[in-house]
């Protein structure tokens, strides 16, 4: 459950200036902060270092903090490409640093409040109650507050469209290939017809062959995908310095691929053979 001011939700972006470390002391009384791995790496900071943070680029009114830990930021697909150089402070410390001089302590506003309910199923009802009782506050169940999911739903549709185009192109090529391959076996099929095999029997054989070839191709494709999965993830994780997973070959994905590839391959074989089988055995066997 997330509560936010009713007006347009602008993320509260605070520019912090990390000044050079001043000391390394486990005995320091400075408040604790966590820093992101990327920030630690870029500035050469370690746990225990005392740093100074300021909200102004000039470093005015800087306060000392002790790095209590280094964390791996939760991968945020919406911030792909941006190196997360971030610091996590306790809320009172943050408010102390960012409070305007004319605002008394306790009168600050925050961008959102996360609420854990005893019964998560009550989220919708709780949100309705809050919206009715607190004008100016917008309460949303957590599932509806994930605005960053929007771009990825769009990307999913985009990838699906690309996949459909690829399948159409592959099908056309497959038909061309199967027509050629079937044509290559024209004489064999003619002989089979002449020795008395019915068209249905030959078609069944062709269908089985098509299934075996398409099945083998699908398995080969899945093995290739599984092998390249690691490679692609490693490349993009390195490229964007993120722990995000870009490619994941799940059971559902694998099953969908097989469900499309095998019937498509087998159908292409049968369709390509059908025109050939309509001709007479003598005509097929004729050189």
């Amino acid at each position: 459950m997330r509560l936010a001011p009713a007006a347009v939700l602008l993320p509260a972006i605070l520019a912090f200036c990390v000044l050079p470390p001043v000391a390394w002391a486990q005995e320091s009384t400075a408040p604790d902060v966590l820093i992101s791995r990327q920030l630690a790496e870029s500035e050469g900071l370690t746990v225990g270092t005392v740093i100074r943070l300021a909200t102004d680029a000039s470093g005015a009114h800087a306060r000392e903090f002790r790095i209590a830990g280094i964390y791996e930021p939760t991968p945020d697909p919406a911030r792909l490409g941006q190196v997360p150089r971030s610091v996590r402070l306790h809320l009172p410390d943050l408010l102390e640093m960012t409070r305007p001089v004319d605002v008394p302590a306790g009168a600050e506003y925050v961008s959102s409040v996360n609420v854990a309910l005893t019964n998560p199923a009550d989220a919708q009802q709780f949100a309705s109650d809050v919206n009715a009782r607190l004008p100016g506050v917008l309460a949303l169940p957590a599932g509806e507050a994930t605005g960053s999911a929007g771009p990825f739903r769009v990307l999913e549709r985009f990838h699906l469209a690309i996949a459909i185009i690829t399948i159409v192109a592959a099908t056309v090529f497959l038909l061309a290939l199967t027509i050629m391959l079937v044509d290559e076996r024209r004489e064999t099929v003619g002989v089979l017809r002449l020795i008395g095999l019915p068209v249905r029997r030959i078609l069944t054989q062709i269908l089985l062959e098509g299934l075996i070839v398409a099945g083998t191709g699908a398995v080969f494709g899945l093995v290739l995908a599984a092998l390249s999965e690691q490679l692609i993830n490693q490349f993009f994780q390195w490229r964007y310095d993120t722990a995000l997973i870009f490619v994941r070959v799940t059971k559902d994905v694998a099953l969908t691929c097989v469900m499309i590839a095998v019937p498509l391959g087998a159908s292409a074989t049968v369709v390509a053979s059908w025109a050939l089988l309509r001709r007479g055995g003598l005509r097929l066997a004729r050189r």
């Binding site: 001011p5 347009v8 509260a12 972006i13 490409g81 690829t166």
Partner: protein
């Protein structure tokens, strides 16, 4: 008959397989063309959007305009920038969230842009606001605004009409009185998203809507130089080290390093996959086709066709399949690009005028170059087969077989 004519006859002799080969190349080529349009589409489109307004330097508090940070002491900063010798004019842009009341429906959430020009140059003081007037005229007075088409239609008003606006300039929890503003015109806002509505006016109009509680901050200061954008940006940075001044190209460069990189990566990956796929399949098509005609090729060699000539025949066959498919791929790719662009523009926060797939002549040149390379590479193996074909042995096998 030359090699091209001979290859053409070879293809039309088996129209079904030739047509399928061409269609396959057209589909793959269309995808390739789209990926090339996508690779730089956002950059070209964003550069065009930024340049369209005529402002060539953007001054903001964050690395990128629109980062959410605000410039303090905006009016003094803009006046100081306007006095730089290389500056023609500066425009203060302040954005606030607002609500437009409707008589019988829920209020509409809109973005309110307030602008004010600062210039020491008569030409600079006439610089226009960052929107384009479609109907009516620009907002001038403190009680006038321009609105976009969507808002005009949702409120059922137009130039001369009035709407009630409640704007919040400082904190989201302010409860401000309603302000009645007159619509002077209907405008198009270049960075407006497909799902939002925008209101524009003078900084005084925004101040009036916010009950005077506007502060002295700006989201952005747009600057027009006298010609040297880079020099102007450098002068502003030197004069005001606490702000970020970037030319339009620098803004695009920064975006290229962050938000746009995903599409360049996916475009590169899909271009590689598509070209490899096309090479593999055309190689298989040509190889199978040549293998079926080995006897025919051997007979031609026996009749006096040179080795080079039969190799040329195969190359021409490949060129005809890829060339015809490549030609078809252009209109097909353009149609597909429109559909894919519509899908991607469904992303929240994307300006309606921004396009992911943008035509550039260099994309066409790369497309043609890749297809030529595909035709040549795909023909290499079948060309090798026909060039090394033993004439007598092949003819004997053909007869005995």
């Amino acid at each position: 008959m030359n090699a091209l004519g001979f290859a053409w006859r070879s293809l039309v002799r088996q129209p079904a397989r030739a047509a399928l080969g061409v269609l396959g190349v057209a589909a793959v080529g269309a995808l390739l063309f789209d990926m090339l349009l996508l690779s730089r589409g956002l950059i070209v489109s964003m550069q065009d959007l930024l340049d369209r307004g005529g402002w060539d330097v953007r001054v903001s508090a964050g690395d990128l305009p629109g980062s959410g940070l605000r410039l303090p002491h905006a009016i003094a900063t803009a006046e100081s920038i306007a006095q730089l010798p290389s500056v023609q004019g500066a425009l203060i842009v302040r954005t606030a969230s607002a609500q437009v009341d409707r008589a019988s429906a829920t209020p509409l959430h809109v973005s309110f842009q307030g602008v004010a020009t600062r210039s020491t140059d008569p030409a600079g003081s006439r610089l226009r606001a960052p929107w384009t007037i479609l109907r009516g005229r620009d907002a001038e007075g403190p009680n006038e605004i321009v609105v976009d088409e969507r808002l005009a239609s949702q409120t059922g008003t137009g130039p001369g009409g009035e709407i009630i606006v409640r704007a919040t300039c400082v904190a989201d929890l302010e409860a401000l009185p309603a302000t009645r503003l007159t619509i002077a015109g209907i405008a198009e806002f270049p960075f407006q998203t497909t799902s939002d509505s925008t209101v524009g006016g003078t900084l005084a109009a925004l101040a009036a809507a916010c009950g005077g509680n506007i502060g002295d901050e700006a989201d952005l200061i747009l600057v027009t130089s006298r010609g040297d954008a880079d020099g102007t940006a450098a002068s502003i940075r030197a004069e005001h080290p606490d702000v970020r001044a970037a030319t339009n190209s620098e803004v695009v460069g920064r975006l290229q390093q962050t938000g746009f990189t995903y599409f360049q990566q996916i475009s590169s990956v899909l271009t590689t996959v598509t070209v490899s796929f096309a090479v593999l399949l055309i190689t298989v098509l040509l190889t199978v086709s040549v293998n079926q005609r080995l006897g025919e090729v051997a007979a031609l060699r026996a009749l006096g066709f040179s080795r080079m000539r039969v190799v040329k025949d195969v190359l021409c066959e490949s060129a005809l399949i890829v060339g015809t498919g490549g030609l078809l791929s252009l209109p097909l790719g353009w149609a597909m690009a429109s559909g894919l662009d519509r899908i991607l523009k469904g992303m929240p926060g994307i300006p309606a005028a921004l396009h992911f797939f943008v035509f550039e002549s260099r994309a066409l040149v790369v497309h043609v170059a890749l297809l030529v390379a595909t035709a040549v590479i795909a023909a290499l193996y079948p060309m090798r087969i026909v060039s090394r074909l033993p004439i007598a042995a092949t003819l004997r096998d053909e007869v005995i077989g």
